[in-house]
Symmetry: C2
């Protein structure tokens, strides 16, 4: 009674097809995921986006569902496209999934000065290395042990040491005339370790490896994962890798991701395995790029939102997605790399920074640390733009935080021709008598990324192509310059702005901005803006009392501040009070990597942050509706 | 160039054959082990025993080596037998290995009163269970977490908790109206936990499981492994499983086992995997027998000699086998069951008792605890008989220990018709005008176990069949009663005593005691006796100053004290000063299981024990030669 489902990823390559045997009544999406074939489902398979669309190559497409019609439109439905999440299998079919999200050569953020920009950071990573010669036991009657001889040589009377570290100890002690290098970790930094006398032995290596002391700062975002290699003695950033979170195929935003894992341990395991696998890919690549051996990485600091944190630890995030959205745990935890299956020194300490609330995670704590907002004399705002954005407002007196569920639109997802900030993405747009674009790598245009979309909307607003409610002004196009007017079109029921026609800027296909794309951006920027507004409201802080707004996040580094102001993504502050601060969450992780003092501070800062729930606030509705609209013309 | 090697375990079963492809020049033993076929190599493949003998069924047997001739004798060599460890492959052959050591229905030791025989043991296992109802988080603004709510309900402000325990926490807290049961462990016992406030959360279970608190005492011997299930609240022994250490196929005594692993990480991994696998089989069986679920086992105490301890922890034991025989570590360590891959509650604490020296391990510490010798006003001796025996001598003032490398002969190995104390083993022998036997289970005789061999030798000594040097008196047989005389024979070069002919006591084959068997027992009993003599010598304690000799070990419980005295296995003390104390090593582990006070004591006792190295003592040679002989007739 099983039905064959054939998935063709490239119709021109006979090898790029796979046939699965499927129980009738299964959706194509579920069947593909069960069979190990990735079909992206940005909305989590709820018929809310088009990412899982498939084209029927053989077999009869079923009658379109309402979701098919709404999301795909008449044309695509007629051409044989359907949403894989809606399409139930009853007979043999052959389909071609939409191509996966582009993964080539992302712009890598973080190859900056790292923590060295903070002049006053005490470099006390807690990791110390000593090269010693150990006198192996010689006495047969009153015996000691290899470990006791080692501790005596290091000058310790006692230490935490797990048997795994000792497995190769005897030969290490005896084989190299140079001696051995002992790596220890003192929680709370070297000074604390000395005072408590409690050290942990992380590794014993043959010969002299004293100069090899490295750590990783890992920022696990809903959409992007950034891993940075840091030399622990100097704090120098040696390499950085960034890529798409591979969980994205199971849901683009946090709620979709949680819905996928909710009450389904098998799916949770899938998400968990994917992220651990990606981190190990990052480690392999970063070691290749830098020439550092993975076994010389002894400390890791991880930040990420609560859901990403829970999934990485294998903790059921079901209730993070249900009111009151409580996390399962919030305290800082430290594991060994072995427990987390990370392929670095097996006893390396993997430190997770503490969380604040279900939707304000360790990444927000990292932003607070890196921006020093917790120590500011004046009131500042930090906005970390991401799929799950966070807003912090306050000073050394009080500190508030909320989450701003922007969704992935500003990262180019859920946008018809959107893509991440990779090679070929339109990242800059100017609009005058016509539309002009710049692409990353100045290559042929493949799609448009977040900074490009924001520029585009700002320009279209300035030229009156879009009005303050976000409607594309098809009826008023005759008043526009002719070339610009020619780009504003009505296709079927859909209003579109044609950004590029095939051939323009080397575009292989038409690249358009649809009315729905504008709505997606409005939802995203509305979420961020209402987060800022709400915190000002709760804290009773008017715009003029804000000394600075710090824009953080991978995305925040590429967006034009003028465009962001024009579309109302950030509040109307004077330009000079707005500053980029880079990927602050990752920077906060790097601070904790090189400094146990900073890592201890993370706990006091997390405990100080007062969480504000947007949705639970009675004034939220009004604020959100206001923030969805665009600011009136300047 | 590869050569096919076919191994036939049962010539009558066409399914019981396996063909391996082998590089020419490999020995049959190595090829079989590499191919996953167990051929027992009691001496570790050094040509020192006959356990790895194979019979050639097809293909030409190679010319016998000297080892073949010495170990197997002319007859077996002529019949096509060879030692697999000596036989190098050059062409296709088919061989039948000797049957494996018998594994059926061992006499199970330990189904006794357990620790309840110690009236004054404080039952403070450190494991506590609380049934609580947790108010899940309700507040959306100032959030807490599931864990914080749980800790508040338990009455703790802080606790060590690993993320793995939290993975299923949200549903546990919400799904069962009864509440949840929280299991905690306080190192050093409940009182210590209260005073330091530091508890570790081991598990959170749905509903009320407060009565389910179990632990395992595991005694890993060179030849036998005993696992005992204990109810932690009462100290009651619920079930016990004992079996052959599956590492035995790679070497019967400690030195052979170490030689197999020495400088060969692959072989070390094999030994490690075997013992972990066996422990999981024990756990499965013990749970089946008792009806206890494995997830209710929260604490384990492990004892064993240093080599078994190191192998179980994956620690390279190479240098334990090389002078000065130093251990890699000696301190008590605690791991989670998860880290050791034991299939019980994943966070269960697995506590390894401390070691004393390379050949005096945690089992000796267990014996010291269980016999209370460390607290004795008078001088006592404890003898733990095993493949690697230990002798303790002392009182509350001073305590000495040495290891007595008896080898496995007293456990029935390296004896022509020897077997362990299993169904069908001859366990009692009397010698008068003839030889009379008793078998375990009173079934047909299959072989002879240690207690039977000792009875047999004692009887033969008394009747003059063996003289004090151990020589079988073939020449004097005419002076014996006719039926006994008929059993003393010369076959080829070999002196033998025929214990049973086919049919007698249901024996299917002839069961003999060879001259070499007598020599093996002399080596074994010589090792034990010289251990006792040496400690008396070092401590300056004459026999009359010894108030008691305690006989411990699985084997010690079945042997006749009279026979043991007769052959000189133990020193000539008055019978009333000799006492069985059961499997004291396992009992010591059980004490530490039910009492953290006892477990803390293990460390002070281990630190007090003064190790004496037999071989390094200048007087050893003379003592050992004396002890090899049998006492002159009474």
């Amino acid at each position: 009674m099983a039905v064959p489902l054939t998935l063709v990823t490239d119709p021109n390559d006979p090898g790029a097809r796979r046939t699965l045997t499927v129980a009738p009544g299964t959706t194509i999406l579920k069947a593909a995921h069960a069979g190990g074939v990735d079909i992206t489902a940005t909305c989590g398979g709820r018929g809310r986006c088009t990412s899982c669309r498939v084209k029927f190559l053989a077999g009869l497409p079923p009658p379109p569902t309402i979701m098919d019609e709404v999301q795909l439109g008449d044309d695509l439905v007629r051409e044989g496209y359907r949403l894989a999440c809606q399409c139930v299998l009853h007979e043999a079919v052959t389909v071609q999934p939409a191509p996966p999200l582009d993964e080539r050569s992302f712009q890598i953020l973080g190859a900056g000065p790292g923590v060295r920009q903070f002049g006053r950071v005490l470099l006390d990573s807690g990791i110390a290395k000593q090269v010693i010669k150990v006198a192996v036991p010689r006495e047969e009657h009153h015996q000691t042990s290899d470990l006791e001889q080692l501790l005596a040589a290091v000058g310790l009377t006692t230490a935490d040491v797990v048997p795994a570290v000792l497995q190769r100890l005897p030969s290490a002690l005896r084989d190299d005339p140079t001696g051995v290098t002992v790596t220890t970790f003192a929680e709370g930094g070297a000074s604390a370790g000395e005072s408590t006398g409690r050290q942990r032995i992380l590794a014993v290596e043959r010969g002299d490896t004293a100069l090899m002391k490295f750590g990783l700062a890992i920022d696990v975002g809903t959409t992007s994962v950034v891993t940075t290699l840091v030399e622990l003695e100097s704090g120098e950033q040696l390499a950085s890798v960034s890529s798409l979170n591979p969980q994205t195929v199971f849901g683009g935003d946090l709620m979709s991701r949680i819905a996928f894992a909710q009450f389904n341990p098998g799916n949770l395991r899938k998400l968990h395995t994917r992220i651990v696998g990606l981190l190990n890919q990052h480690i392999a690549q970063i070691c290749r790029d830098s020439g550092v051996l993975a076994k010389w990485i002894y400390k890791v600091v991880v930040v990420g939102n609560t859901c990403m944190h829970h999934i990485l630890l294998g903790i059921d995030p079901s209730h993070v997605g249900l009111a009151p959205y409580a996390p399962v745990m919030r305290h800082a935890v430290t594991l060994s790399a072995r427990e987390l299956f990370l392929k670095i020194a097996p006893e390396a300490r993997v430190c997770f920074l503490p969380l604040v609330a279900g939707f304000v995670g360790a990444d927000a704590v990292g932003v607070a640390l890196a921006t020093r907002i917790y120590d500011s004399a004046e009131i500042r705002i930090a906005v970390d733009i991401g799929t799950n954005g966070e807003v912090l407002l306050g000073s050394r007196d009080r500190l508030w935080a909320c989450s701003a569920p922007a969704g992935p639109a500003l990262e180019g997802a859920q946008i018809r021709h959107g893509m991440r900030g990779a090679l070929g993405a339109i990242d800059r747009v100017t609009v005058d008598d016509d539309i002009h674009v710049h692409t990353i790598g100045e290559t042929d245009a493949l799609g448009i990324c977040g900074s490009g979309i924001i520029d585009l909307l700002a320009g279209l607003l300035d030229r009156g192509v879009i009005d303050w409610t976000g409607l594309i002004q098809v009826d008023l196009r005759d008043s526009l310059p002719p070339r610009l007017a020619a780009r504003v079109v009505m296709r079927g029921e859909e209003r579109q702005v044609i950004v590029l026609r095939p051939g323009e800027a080397g575009a292989r296909q038409e690249i358009v901005l649809t009315q729905d794309d504008v709505r997606q951006v409005q939802l995203a920027k509305g979420a961020i803006a209402s987060g800022v507004t709400m915190l000002q409201h709760v804290a009773g802080v008017p715009a003029e009392a804000i000394s600075e707004l710090m824009l953080a996040g991978g995305f925040g580094n590429y967006v034009s501040v003028e465009s962001a102001l024009r579309i109302g993504l950030i509040p109307p502050l004077p330009r000079e009070r707005i500053r980029y601060v880079g990927n602050a969450a990752s920077l906060g992780a790097q601070l904790c990597l090189v400094s146990e003092t900073e890592r201890a501070r993370a706990e006091t800062v997390a405990a100080r942050i007062e969480h504000v729930s947007l949705a639970a606030h009675p004034d939220f509705e009004g604020i959100f509706v206001d923030c969805m609209n665009f600011p009136q013309a300047r």
